[in-house]
Each structure stands twice: as C-alpha cells, then as structure tokens.
C-alpha cells in the first residue's frame, strides 16, 4: 500500500511551538513505556529539553482493556527549559477506550487525541465501563478537541501482511506505528529509533525488519493521510552549552555509585533485594561486573543490608538499595551500622505507603523514618535527590560523606525521579570531587595497641580493613568505650558515646555547601522551601510567579541531616515559609522543631507529583 501515491495533493502546515506535553496511554501490554522513552530520546537528541513521567499500574498485566490496566508515559519537551512532566497534556495517544477515560480529564481544551480505532470497539468500551451504546469517538463529547481516529491495529496488520510473523508478534509492533506517526507529527527523524530497533533485535533480524517497516508506515501515514494537516516544530532548547545525555534517576544513582567507587579506589559492593521502584539500580549495577562491581541479590532486605555491612568491614564501598517497606526491615541493621561506625550508603527510592501501599506511585513519606526510624538514638546523615540527574550527584555526595565520616548515609529518591528522565550535562571524570580514603595501616595506640574508636578532629574513627596484619580487632553492637572499642556498660560512658556519635554527624555541617536561593531574592515576602523530587514543580511555579510580579523565592534542600549551617538565618529573613511535600508535612515538622518558625505546609498524598498550577495557586493565596 502506498498512500502517498494516492494522495499527492496533501498540504501540511508547519507550526512552531515552544513546548508540548504528550501522553502515551494504553494497556500495560501495549508498549507505551518503550514508545514514550524512544520518543523522548529522539526529542532529546534533537536538542529539546525534556522531562518524563512513566505512570503505570503495579500489576504486570492487569486485566486487558480495563481502567486499572492503563499504563501511561508522559513527556514534556520544548525549546525552553523544562522542569516538570507537565500539568496537562497537549496530545493524548489513546490505544483504547480505558486509556482515554483515564487521561481525558487532563487534556488541554483544544488538545489532540490520537485514538486507536479498534481499542474503541464494543468490547473495549464495555471493559472501560462506558455506558451501553456510548462511544466517545462518536458522540459530541469530544467536540472541543481535535480527534484523529486511526485504525492502528489494522494498518499494522496490513503493513506486515506476508511478513511471516504470527498475529501476536504483528499486534505487538503496533506501538511502532504510533511512534512513527508521532515522530512525523513533531518533525523528528526516525534514525535514532531505527538504530535502537536494530540493536535490540540484532539476533532476530526478521523482528527488527518488521518493526522498522511498521515505524516507517506510521511516519508515512502522518505524511500522507489527509487527516493530519499540521506538523509541529520545536526548536532546540537554549540550554547551557555542553554535551548532554538523557538519564533516569535510578540509572543516575547506579552510575553515581560506580563513579564514587572509581574515584575512591574502593571496590563497590551492593547488597540488595528486589523491590519496586528501586530494583533498576540493582539491574544497572549488575551490568558493571567488568569494572569489578559486586552485586549480591540477598535472600531478604535484612540480608541485603547485613551483607553490605560485612563488605564495608572488609573495606568495600558498601551500598544497599530499597524502598519503604524494605527500609523498615533494614532499621535494626542500620542501628548496628551506626554503632559500628562503618561507611554504608542506603538508597531509599520512596513509594506510596504504608505497607504495600502504591508500589508504582510516588511519595515523599519516608523522610521521618530516614531521620528517626531506628531504635535508640542513632542520627545519620540524610540526603535527598531533587531530579533524575541530581540522583547522580546526591548519591556521589552520600558515598563521599559515608567514607570520609565513617557513617551510614541515607539517600532519599522517589518513584517520580527514579523512573522519570531528563537531559543531563554530565560531568567528566576529572570534574568529580575526590573521595579521601584513609585505611589504618599500623597500630594507632601505644605498644602496638589497636584503637578502633580513636577519633580524629572531626570525631571520625579509623577504617580498618579486615585482613590487615597486626590490626586484628573486634567491633560489635554492644556499647563500647571510646578509643579501645571495648565493651562498656558504664553509665556515663553510654551518654558520652551517644553524644559523640551525634556530634560526629552534626560536624558534617562544616563539609556541606550552604543553602542557597534557587530563585527570587533573600528579601522576598514568601519562601517556598522544598526537598527532593518536588524541585521541578516548585521551580516552575516560583519562576512563573516571579514573572507575574509575586514576591516569592525558592530554596531547595539536598542535605536534610545535618541541615546547612546558614539555613536558619535564611529562613528568619522571610515573612512566610511554605513547604510543599508529597506527605502530610514531614519536613514541616523538622523545620518547625529546629527553627521554631510558623512555616505553612502544603500536602499532596495522591501518589502523584505536584502540578505547577497547584503550587502556584498556593503561592498566590499566600502572597
């Protein structure tokens, strides 16, 4: 079939736009995540700034065609800087009726719907629970939108007729038709995707050829079908000059660990147990065996952290990765690690809780657990990453602090930034801060005595690698005497050691950068104080508010324990402080308790990130 020969007269209008939000939406098995990621990669390679938001159900294959089974991938791309995945969509690709039903409420007025016709047959409409006889594509409910009904399933079948592939395989490639069509719509090339398909199916050339054929068919369809009259052009973004790549938060965390291992010269050991949404870090690190990375898939969350403690005792850069429920299981061992004063990095990729909660949805509800979730008093440094690429720097920093201050460090990420992606002007090897490792080489006490808890001026004890000659020593969970590490039940000693351990963590304040204003000025009336993945939404909201004349500023925290030294002074300068969080007010509690200021909280606990509009509305209300 060659449509272009049949329709030689088609005229296409080209419109320049600044930014667009596209939502790919379909069944869990429709391949929307892959389609979205490929589209994003192509947009990024073309120089657009991008932010993505994969939004999928926790079931691997929820009942086909139902609302519960809808898997969405949202990409916001543009020629200006993009900090969020977008509040609402310009374009929805709806592979079935359920997808449209779920995502319709957030389509902008006048937005474009590309609907897969066969996904709106009687069966699919019933599965999506539309009332009998109602089809949104055929009644007037979509008259304020531009609707393109495309029989993607049929067109894909026709394209692959005679390919020798089975119906199942043919049906599976329909997402490539969608991708081809969208790439045409936004004036992107197919090269990147063709390369991707060839690499992915290098051992199955017939599948590769079929997918490429369907991809091209989708592209050609856009070019030639009369219904598509407009193409959108988005110029490359004016980002700071440099070399960029696209990165997700989990991958950034993984390579942050590898980088810290390389720069410190310490072998990397990851003890981990699979848990959504943290598992990709385990997957990614398992690929770096060639760099000597050891990944240990432990029998449970407890063994995961315990094996890491063991590895740390032998002088490895030891890490464990998890999400909320796993974090709870690790808390006893975290107490041990705090007591032993061994370096350890714990990455908690937060999700909706408590219990199994919303495993694939995002939340910032583990902050207080990270701060206080241990038996006894065991303060630990807590850092939070603010964007996908920031996971790299935050994890790298965490490794540096853990090793240089002999302490476990907790890193908080969350489902939104872990799976979301953005372009990243990545650093070079030589740009990365050095990580100082000082293993004890010889006895540090008199007469060859080993003093495992003899502290330096920062109260840091020496790291003694098991296996070092003449430095045999025992450490343990029982309270110990300073210097010698000998077990001590002496009353005053326990108080002294409790204070020493806390003070050691507190002194890290002198090694972290001061808090700084991200946007606005120090004399503004209102401060929006954020932490973690709310960065993009707050940044955009504050920026837009300032442009509209509101007196507002933004500070975003990476270091939550200890807090930056200057934070109090900065906070006291603002009349009002607003703290938006995807929890019921956890940083709010910490800030109020620490600085005794009447900060105002703004909660969202829906498993979804804040929209810019939600935060902006609060800013306006408080201004």
């Amino acid at each position: 079939m060659n449509i272009s020969n049949e329709l030689p007269e088609k005229v296409t209008t080209i419109r320049q736009v600044d930014k667009v939000v596209v939502r790919f939406s379909g069944d869990s098995g429709d391949g929307m995540q892959l389609t979205g990621m490929q589209f994003t990669d192509t947009a990024a390679l073309a120089g657009n700034d991008t932010t993505t938001f994969p939004d999928y159900p926790s079931e691997i294959r929820a009942p086909v065609g139902t609302v519960a089974g809808v898997s969405g991938f949202q990409v916001h791309f543009g020629s200006t800087e993009i900090y969020t995945a977008g509040d609402s969509f310009d374009v929805i690709v709806a592979m079935n009726a359920a997808a449209l039903k779920v995502d319709m409420p957030r389509l902008k007025k006048g937005g474009i719907i590309i609907a897969n016709l066969q996904g709106f047959d009687k069966k699919n409409l019933a599965l999506a629970e539309y009332p009998d006889g109602v089809n949104p594509l055929e009644d007037s409910s979509l008259e304020n939108y531009i609707v393109h009904k495309v029989d993607i399933t049929k067109l894909t079948k026709e394209c692959l007729a005679g390919s020798g592939l089975g119906m199942k395989e043919i049906d599976r490639s329909k997402n490539m038709f969608v991708l081809g069509l969208l790439l045409w719509m936004f004036d992107k090339t197919l090269d990147n995707t063709i390369q991707f398909i060839q690499d992915k199916f290098s051992k199955k050339p017939e599948i590769a050829d079929a997918n490429i054929k369907v991809l091209k068919a989708g592209f050609n369809y856009g070019e030639s079908a009369e219904i598509f009259t407009t193409q959108f052009k988005i110029a490359p973004a004016r980002l700071p000059s440099g070399t960029y790549r696209n990165i997700t938060g989990n991958h950034a965390a993984a390579i942050g660990l590898v980088a810290a291992s390389e720069k410190s010269g310490l072998p990397l050991f990851l003890g981990s147990y699979p848990i959504t949404p943290a598992t990709d870090i385990l997957h990614d690190l398992s690929k770096y065996k060639g760099n000597g990375v050891k990944t240990f898939q432990a029998e449970d969350e407890i063994a995961a952290i315990c094996s890491s403690i063991g590895a740390s005792y032998t002088g490895s850069l030891a890490v464990t990765t998890t999400s909320g429920p796993g974090m709870s299981l690790k808390t006893e061992a975290l107490g041990l690690a705090a007591m032993l004063e061994l370096p350890l990095v714990v990455i908690d990729v937060q999700r909706g809780g408590p219990s199994t909660g919303l495993p694939t949805k995002t939340e910032q509800s583990d902050l207080l657990m990270a701060m206080h979730g241990r038996h006894g008093e065991a303060p630990l440094p807590v850092l939070a990453a603010s964007s996908p690429s920031d996971c790299f720097e935050t994890v790298y920093e965490a490794c540096k602090i853990a090793v240089e201050h002999m302490t476990p460090v907790i890193v908080l990420s969350d489902g939104y930034i872990a799976n979301g992606s953005e372009p990243w002007r990545f650093p070079k090897d030589e740009d990365l801060a050095s990580i100082k490792v000082n293993f004890l080489k010889e006895a540090n006490g008199e007469n060859g005595k080993v003093l495992p808890y003899k502290r330096d001026e920062n109260l840091v004890r020496p790291w003694i690698k098991a296996g070092t000659k003449n430095l045999e020593h025992r450490i343990g969970g029982l309270e110990k005497e300073n210097d010698t590490g000998n077990v001590s039940y002496e009353a005053k000693n326990h108080e002294k050691m409790t204070k020493l351990r806390a003070e050691k963590v507190k002194r890290i304040q002198s090694f972290i950068p001061p808090a700084k204003i991200d946007n606005g000025n120090e004399r503004a009336k209102l401060l929006v104080l954020g932490w973690g993945s709310t960065y993009g939404a707050i940044k955009t909201a504050v920026k837009e508010s300032i442009d509209e004349g509101f007196d507002v500023a933004h500070i975003h925290l990476r270091y939550i324990n200890p807090l930056p030294k200057n934070l109090g002074w900065l906070l006291f300068g603002f009349e009002k402080v607003l703290i938006p969080e995807m929890n019921s007010g956890q940083l709010l509690q910490l800030i109020r308790a620490e600085f005794l200021i009447p900060a105002t909280g703004f909660s969202k606990v829906q498993g979804l990130p804040f929209t810019t509009a939600e935060i902006k509305e609060r800013i306006i209300r408080m201004s």
């Binding site: 000059s241 315990c306 006893e332 090897d429 045999e472 020593h473 450490i475 343990g476």
Partner: protein, 345 residues
C-alpha cells in the same frame, strides 16, 4: 587442602588467639570447651592470623567473637550468616567463621541459615546447640523437645523441634557434621574437617547449658551410656555401637535396622558402611533423630555429609574476571556519557 600458608616461620600458638578479654560465660558452660578447641586447632590451620574473621549474632554463643584475637563482628540477632556472606563475597581471601546458637541460627536467623547453605560460601558455621534460650534466661528454643517445660512453656512446649542436620541437608548444605562439647578431640577433628572443606561447613555442637538445660546431652558423653547412645561415624567404616561394640546398623532396602552382632548371625560385613558422599544415606542418618528411630538408634556424631560443589565467592569472582576479559573495563568517562549524547553549543 589448604592453599594458604604462613610466609614466616613463627608458629602461632593457641594463646595468640586469645583476646585477653575476661570470658564471662557461666561456670561449667560448654562454650568454654568450644573456645578452647578452636584456639587449640587454629595454629595448625596454616592461615595468617589476620585472615581470620569471626562473625556472631546474639546469644551466649555469640560472645565468642570478643574472646578471639582475630577480626570479628559481634552483630545482631540472627544475622551473622548474612554479614558473613558480605565479608566473604567482598574479600574471598578471608577465613570466615560464623558462631551462632540454636535460637540465633534456626529461629530468628533461619532464613539466612538456609540460604547460606544453598549459596555455599566457603565459610564455617558453628552452631552451639543447647536446646534452650539461655541469654534471655530460659525459654524453649526451636531445637527444644516437645513437652519441654520452660519459663515460656510452663505446661510444656507444643512445638516440634528442628532436626538441624536434616534442615541443613534440605537446604543443600555441602558439609553437615555434629560434635559435642565433652568430646574435645572429636570436636577438634570436626573443626579441622570443617575448615578443610571448601564450601559452607555446618558444625552442630551439642553444648551443655548448666544453668537452664543442664545434662541434656550427657547420655552421649557419660561413660555409662555413651556407647549405647552415641554413634561416632567414620568414613568407610561400618556403623557399629553398643557397650561391647555388639550392635550395628544395616540397611534393609531403604530402612535402617539395628541388628545384634552376636545373636542374629550378622557380622560387620553385613552393616551399612558410612559414605560421607552419599546423600541418601546422609538423609537417613540425620533422621535417626526422629521419633520413629530415636528410641532404638544412637545419635550420630561426625561428618554426616560432605560434597564438593562450586562455592559462591569463586563463581562471583570468575564471572567478574570473565567479563573483564571479554568486555574489558568501561572507562568512567564512558559510563558517565552513556551511548547517546548530543552537543549544545
């Protein structure tokens, strides 16, 4: 079997392994004997002192770590095996010993126990089994017998105990053995065998708790009863026991039967010959413990099962080396940039 040897001529002696810390077990505790046997055989193992690492959990047994002048972590309840896995995976050169009790290993640490056996790290796992919780002052443990009267079971325990060697075999242990505190020479042999075995070596040590469970294992060591109640296994030798070495065990199909060597016309050559490498037989031996056999069968001590199979940390290392050779190390700059980049001018 040892691959490491001392590079100096100075021979260590048992005292070199004493940390000098005051040992605080109760007088008469079986743990003293275990500490002594370990310290006695260590100089003979031919390992540099700094390579030894002891990892223990919580319980009376787990204080062991503090008394050895080696590297060690006295950790948290039940987790010694998990910590030891990390130690051995991260540094396969270390000579790792896990010290645990019946509660620590089989109850709170049960999951780590079975997975350690399955993964087969080359470590030694000593479980001091006294069939009671002692550090918490006397509650029934997962190895206490049904009906056991303790503070938490004043009317008798209603739980079926674990059979540790059967549990270990079921978890695919590659070395399963049993010894007891009152048989120092036998224990030394078992410790040496465990150390020589490449893979996870499980040594169950019957250990008397004089305070909360005194005398539980005395039938296996008291002169008057020992010969009838205990069977000391030797590889390649027939299963013979009894006061006058007049009883034997033979296999009737897959059914073990106790036979009288004097009266029934059976001689040693009719008996079951112990074969450490035979898993079917090992399973049967481990079941002498069960009610079905317990009354008439002696309790076996010695190496019940031994099998050479791949050890975790070596496979892990091999895989790394293989990938290093095949794909090489990726430069940090390449890791940072990934495969696809673009420039913005």
């Amino acid at each position: 079997m040892e691959t490491l040897s001392l590079d100096t001529n100075e021979k260590l002696n048992p005292k070199d392994f004493s940390s000098g810390m005051e040992v605080k077990w109760c007088p008469g505790c079986g743990d003293y004997s275990i500490l002594k046997q370990v310290q006695t055989i260590f100089p003979d193992l031919g390992i540099e002192k700094e390579k030894f690492v002891f990892i223990s959990g919580i319980g009376c047994s787990s204080r062991f770590t503090y008394y050895m002048d080696t590297y060690g972590i006295h950790s948290i309840h039940g987790r010694a095996a998990a910590i030891a896995s990390g130690v051995k995976a991260a540094n396969p050169d270390l000579d790792v010993w896990i010290v645990s009790g019946d509660g620590d290993a089989f109850s709170i640490g049960g999951n780590h126990f079975i997975h350690l056996m399955r993964k087969n790290f080359d470590v030694n796992y000593l479980v001091f089994n006294n069939q009671i919780y002692s550090l918490t002052k006397g509650q029934y443990s997962p190895t206490s017998e049904r009906g056991k009267i303790t503070k938490s079971s004043p009317y008798g325990s209603i739980e079926e105990p674990f059979n540790p060697s059967e549990l270990a075999l079921g978890a695919k242990a590659s070395f399963v053995s049993r010894t007891l505190d009152r048989e120092p020479k036998h224990m030394q042999t078992m410790l040496k065998r465990a150390h020589a075995h490449k893979g996870t070596s499980f040594v169950e040590v019957y250990q008397n708790c004089p305070v909360f469970n005194d005398g539980t294992f005395f039938p296996f060591s008291d002169k008057e009863t020992k010969k009838e109640e205990a069977l000391f296994l030797e590889n390649g030798k027939p299963l013979i026991f009894g006061n006058n070495e007049d009883k034997g065990i033979r296999l009737d199909g897959l059914k073990p039967v106790v036979v009288d060597l004097n009266s029934n016309g059976f001689s040693a050559s009719d008996l079951w010959i112990h074969d450490e490498n035979d898993k079917t037989k090992a399973n049967l031996i481990s079941r002498f413990f069960d009610a079905e056999f317990n009354d008439t069968f002696p309790r076996p001590f010695g190496v019940i099962y031994a099998e050479e199979r791949p050890v975790y940390e070596e496979d892990m290392q091999h895989q790394i080396e293989e990938i290093k050779t095949k794909k090489g190390k990726i430069s940090l700059n390449k890791i940072l940039s990934g495969d696809k980049t673009w420039n913005i001018l």
